[in-house]
Each structure stands twice: as C-alpha cells, then as structure tokens.
Amino acid sequence: MMPNTQTNPSAIPARPNAIEIKKVDIYYGSYRAVHDVNIDIHDRKISAFIGPSGCGKSTVLRAINRMNDLVIGARLEGEIIFQGRNLYGADIDPVEVRRRIGMVFQKPNPFPKSIYDNVAYGPRLLGIKDKATLDEIVESSLKRAALWDEVKNDLKKSGMALSGGQQQRLCIARTIAVEPEVILMDEPCSALDPISTQRIEELMLELVDQYTIVIVTHNMQQAQRVSDYTAFFSIRRTEDEATGKDTRWGELVEFEQTDQLFSRPAKKETADYISGRFG
C-alpha cells in the first residue's frame, strides 16, 4: 500500500493512517454529486485534490471526516476505510471520526474567543479541565503550528484580532490540539496573501512527518510545491435528450504521484487542465 517513493519513514514507526476511498458515490438528495471515486491516500504524505470548480473535490474531502453529514440530505455510497474500518459503518460515531480526522477550512474561522481558548476548545470538549495540562497542550500546539513566538505574550488576545495568515495557523493549532491522525485542508490558502501562503505551505511540509495531510487547492503550483500525490477531478455532464435537462457530476480522472501527474499525465484531460487549456 505504501509505495516508497520519497522520504524514508524509518525514524517513525509505521502507523496505518492511510485512507482508502473505495467506489464512493456522494448524493445530495437524489442528485449524485460525485461518482465512483477510488483513491488510496498514503500514510504521512500530502495528497492534493485539484480540478475545476464544481468537480466535487471538496465534497470528497468533507466526506472523509463525515462533515457532509451536517448537510441535510447528503448521503454516501461506497466505503472509506481508515485504520481497517469503514468510516461509514453502522458502529462508527462521526464525532470521534472528526476528532481523529481534523479539518482546516477555506476561510480562517477562529472562534470569537481568546487565542488560548481557541486552542483549548478541542481538549476541553474531550473533558480535559486541568489548567497545567491545557497550558501544555496550548503551547505545544501553537509551537507545532509555528505561531507560538508571535502570540506567546498575548494569549488572551482575541483570535479574531490576528492577521489572516495567523488566524489560519491558529486554526491549524486548534486542529492539532485534539491530536488527530489526519488533517484535511479545504483550500487553506485561498484567502491569504502569498507570504502567508508560503508559511502555511512550509508548515504543511513540517507537519507531514506526523500527520497524513489531504489538501484541496485551486492553485496547481501549490499542489506541485507541497504534495506527494495529486488527484485530478473533473466534471462530467449528460444532456437528457427528451427533457433537455443538463446533469453534471464530478469524477476522479486520475490519481498519481505529483511529479508524474504534472510531467507525464496519463489522460489527455489532465494534460489539458494542467497546461491551462481548460478549467
């Protein structure tokens, strides 16, 4: 399952934090938004989802930690296997799934609370009340998110008062604080300036030695810079001849090592997209 393409993971004991997306169809009501997606997301690698708007890449990402459950009428067919179990099995609690597969959103969304309370929110949900333990988690999480040096003197300041890039790193720190095994990032840099974007990208490269990271991005350079694997999604459409009704859905075109996908794409559609001929 783990093609050893890049860094040697010998220093860290192997953890089976890979995710297998198997024959996944995602529906909103009766509308099938995504059809037949199969991806093996590798343990402690960065996988990028790219594709035009509406191709279902965010939908697939949100399916991984069951955030789609919050959308009324959303439904998934197929399996997503994590640590040997189907995340959509009857015995799985989505609350625990989301704790172990964290998420960073497109727009930085710190809570309207202090920096400290933002990071401590997750641990407190899990019932940690001890002040010293919380202090320790807050400090280590902020350090891991490369934000500690900038905020260590005013942890009481509102999280909303930080700059956009700092807010996004605060959100990453907040996600790390509940010790997830996977971090999903839904276009984490689309609202940030290039310098903040660069810091987040550096951060991803640091975090990947401990976490499996999946990132959705519109920025193909970003996918090339940070990811080990890339999945390219595209839109399929059919027109019902009788009614003239246009139906669209998203499909996975190909999933490959990033180098290979960008240099020698297997499908012509991929080549067209990455060379800017469509999309």
Binding site: L70, I72, R98, M103, N109, F111, S114, Y121, L125, M160
Partner: protein
C-alpha cells in the same frame, strides 16, 4: 478631461434620480420628526397631569392634635391620637390594614390567627367579638401602634381625623400660568381650603393599596403584582422559548409536522391577547387549578408566557440562524457533539439576539391588561402578593380603572401610575440591555 456634468443624454436622468432620492430622504426624516413630536406630547400630557396645585380642605388642623409635626411622632403616639379622636373607627382600621383572614371571618377569629403581625400575649386568644365593649378601642390602638409605620398611621389620621380631602386639582401648566386666578378662586371658597403644590407621584401612591378615595389610593399591591408577574413570566418563557428555538433551528428535520409547528408559531404572534386570556382561563385557572390555585399570579404568568413565547421563539431563531456556519463547522470539525456545539458556541453567539427578543416580549407583557382581566386580576386586592399562588392586581388595570373614575382627581393619580409603569419598563429593559451588551463584549 471630460465633463461629467455634461454628458448629454444622461444628465437629466441623473438630476431626476437625485431629486427623487432627496425627496425620499425628506419624507423619512419628517416621519421621524412626527414620531418624536407625538412621543413628547404623550410624555408632556402625563407630566402635566402628575404635578400641579390641589385645593385641600380639612376639618381639623394638624396643629390642634399635637404641638410637633405629625411626621415626627412615634407610632404609639400616633395611635393614641387615633384612640382619642376616632375610637369607633379603630376596629375597621385594624381589619382593613392588618387582617389575615377574609372579612366575614375576622370578628370570630382569635387575634393570634386573624392579625398579620405581632399580637400582645394578653390579646392573642381574644376575638374581635370579645373586644366589642369599652376595652376594644384601646386594644386596637395598641395593635395599630405595634404593627403600622408612622407614615401609615399619619395617613390614617389625615383621612379619618383631619378628614383631608382634595377638592380640586389643576394641571402643571395651569399651575404655572394661572397662579393668581387659582389662588383667588381658592381664597373665595367657604371652607378655608388650602392651596398646595402637589406631586401625585409620591410615597403614598407607591406603597398604599387601592381605595375609593383618591386621597388614600395607592398602587402598592398592583406594582408588586406587576413586578412578580413579569419576573415569573420571564422565568417561564425564556427557557421555553430558547429551548423551542434551539430545537427548531438545530435539531428539527424538515417534516410536515415541523413546518406546521413553524407556521403556527409565526401566526400565534398575531393572535389578539384577549384570546390568550380565554385560553389561560380555561387551561390554567380552571383545568389546572390544582397546580395554579385558580386566579393566581402563576396563572397570569403562564398566560403571559404563552403570549410572548412566539416573540421570543421567532427572535431567538433569527439570532441562532445568524451565527456564522463557519463557527458550527469549526466546532464540529474538532469533534464536538451537537449539544457541545450548541451550548459552547452557538448559544453564546446568539445571546444578544435572544435578549433583544426578550426585551420585545417583556415590553409587550408589561402593558397587557385584557388577558389578565380575564384571568382574574382585580383592582380591589388589598394585600401584597406573597406567593406565586396569591391573587393579584396589575398596574395597567389600575391605570385603566382610575382613568375611568368619575372623580377627576383620579386622572392625576392615574398619570402618576403611568409614570411608575414607564419607569418599571425602563428598569427591566435596561437590565436586559446591560446583559446584552455584556454578552456582545464577551465575544472578544
């Protein structure tokens, strides 16, 4: 540089559109001015009625009773004056002011049980019937002196001994502009009336119970009734309303039943309040009387809660809906359960909006009269409410009742009561606004 003012065909159109915009602005501005003028007129007419000259007649002057002002005397001394001047009225005074039992049982109940207050040991076992002889007045004077405040006793002396009567009253404007004419007309009266500048908003009004005589009438029990009623209404409707809003916004699935529920709640806000009164009478006063004890404050509070629930639910739902979905997602994304997300993120963020709904609801409840009359608020309650099951009176009903009395002076008292009601409303809303602002500032 091209001339923006002179771009041919567009010019006249721009002028026309700007003129129209200015017109609309002027119209909105004038409606605001009209609203403010009407409000000021209302306040002016209330204040105009509340202060002003009154002509007072009295049979005996206070100086004839004591060489010191009455207000400086001890309760026992005042009770002695009452004993000397009006021995035959003392039984009625005790019954009206101190009785703990219904009027028809008072004469046959031992004083220990019949009196609301301290009773000397030697009188404890006697009934008013036992005291019907010459010993009675002295015993009643002791009870009055022991249990009433100086102010209450002075009020009794003014009414029963001095026989103070307000013969005529003038408004504030009349008092200020026609002073000489008023003085001349009072000086011309036969029975030596005194002209006094009088505030109808005074201590007696706030503390005394209602009476047929305007010199005695107060809003004490009505004020207390309104206050307790509102506290209980908030205590009942806030948790229910917020709970219902949370259910509808966060938990309810799209279904026929829930849509029916939503439509009904929205329509209930427009139902006339007297209908709620009829509902309250049937359900709370009659059917549930084993809980509410019939025509009690509790029944009134439950009815008013029904009345303001639609307002609180609708506003709370708006507030919950306005919480950004990014906050929800962030919380769920960290592994929060639904209730953790609601209680730790959504509810605190929605609190200011919830409190706005509460302010609107309470403002409506405080002025309601119709449903409470149906429920059984009366104007003749002489005791202060002491439990949720007490009978009660409310300020708006007293105001309504006084303003329809034939005695013109009651209109002045009624205006003073209106001021009290407005101040009460102001205090309650200020408290809610204080909490709302604190909730907003807590958001960091």
């Amino acid at each position: 540089m091209s001339n923006l003012v002179d771009v041919g065909v567009y010019r006249s159109d721009v002028i026309r559109r700007n003129t129209r915009a200015r017109w609309m602005q002027n119209i909105y501005f004038s409606t605001l001015i009209i609203a403010i003028i009407v409000l000021l007129l209302l306040l002016f007419s209330i204040i105009n009625q509340t202060f002003g000259y009154v002509a007072i007649s009295q049979e005996i002057k206070a100086e004839q009773l004591s060489d010191r002002p009455l207000a400086e005397l001890q309760p026992t001394e005042l009770a002695t004056i009452l004993l000397e001047q009006t021995p035959r009225l003392l039984l009625v005074m005790v019954r009206d002011n101190l009785s703990a039992v219904p009027v028809d049982q008072f004469t046959s109940t031992p004083l220990r049980d019949g009196i609301n207050g301290t009773v000397p040991d030697d009188l404890a076992d006697l009934t008013p019937r036992d005291l019907s002889g010459d010993t009675g007045p002295a015993a009643y004077a002791r009870l009055l002196g022991d249990n009433l405040s100086s102010a209450q006793l002075v009020a009794l002396i003014e009414v029963n001994v001095l026989k103070v009567e307000i013969e005529q009253s003038w408004t504030l404007v009349e008092s200020l502009t026609q002073r000489e004419e008023i003085e001349a007309s009072v000086a011309a009266t036969e029975d030596q009336e005194d002209l006094v500048f009088y505030s109808w908003l005074n201590n007696r009004l706030l503390t005394q119970r209602n009476s047929q005589r305007v010199e005695e009438a107060g809003i004490g029990p009505a004020l207390a009734g309104t206050f307790y009623l509102l506290i209980m209404t908030v205590a009942i409707s806030l948790p229910l309303g917020v709970g219902a809003a949370i259910y509808l916004e966060e938990y309810a699935q799209e279904s026929f039943l829930n849509r029916l529920l939503e439509t009904n709640i929205r329509n209930l806000a427009g139902v006339p309040s007297i209908i709620y009164g009829m509902l309250g009478l049937t359900v709370f006063v009659n059917t549930l009387s084993f809980i509410t004890q019939g025509r009690s404050i509790l029944s009134g509070a439950l009815t008013l809660s029904l009345l303001i629930l639609p307002i609180i639910i609708t506003n709370s739902r708006e507030a919950l809906r306005a919480v950004p979905s990014t906050i929800r997602e962030a919380s769920y994304g960290l592994g929060a359960t639904k209730w953790q997300t609601v209680s730790r993120q959504i509810l605190p963020a929605a609190l200011p909006g919830v409190l706005t709904g509460l302010i609107l609801g309470v403002s409506r409840a405080i002025g309601e009269t119709a449903p409470l009359i149906v429920i059984g608020a009366t104007n003749s309650i002489s005791t202060f409410p002491d439990s949720p099951f007490s009978r009660f009176s409310v300020l708006p009903f007293t105001i309504y009742n006084w303003s329809s009395q034939p005695d013109a002076a009651f209109k002045n008292a009624s205006s003073a009561a209106i001021i009290v009601l407005l101040v009460l409303l102001l205090i309650i809303n200020s408290a809610a606004i204080f909490f709302r602002n604190r909730a907003i500032s807590k958001r960091v």
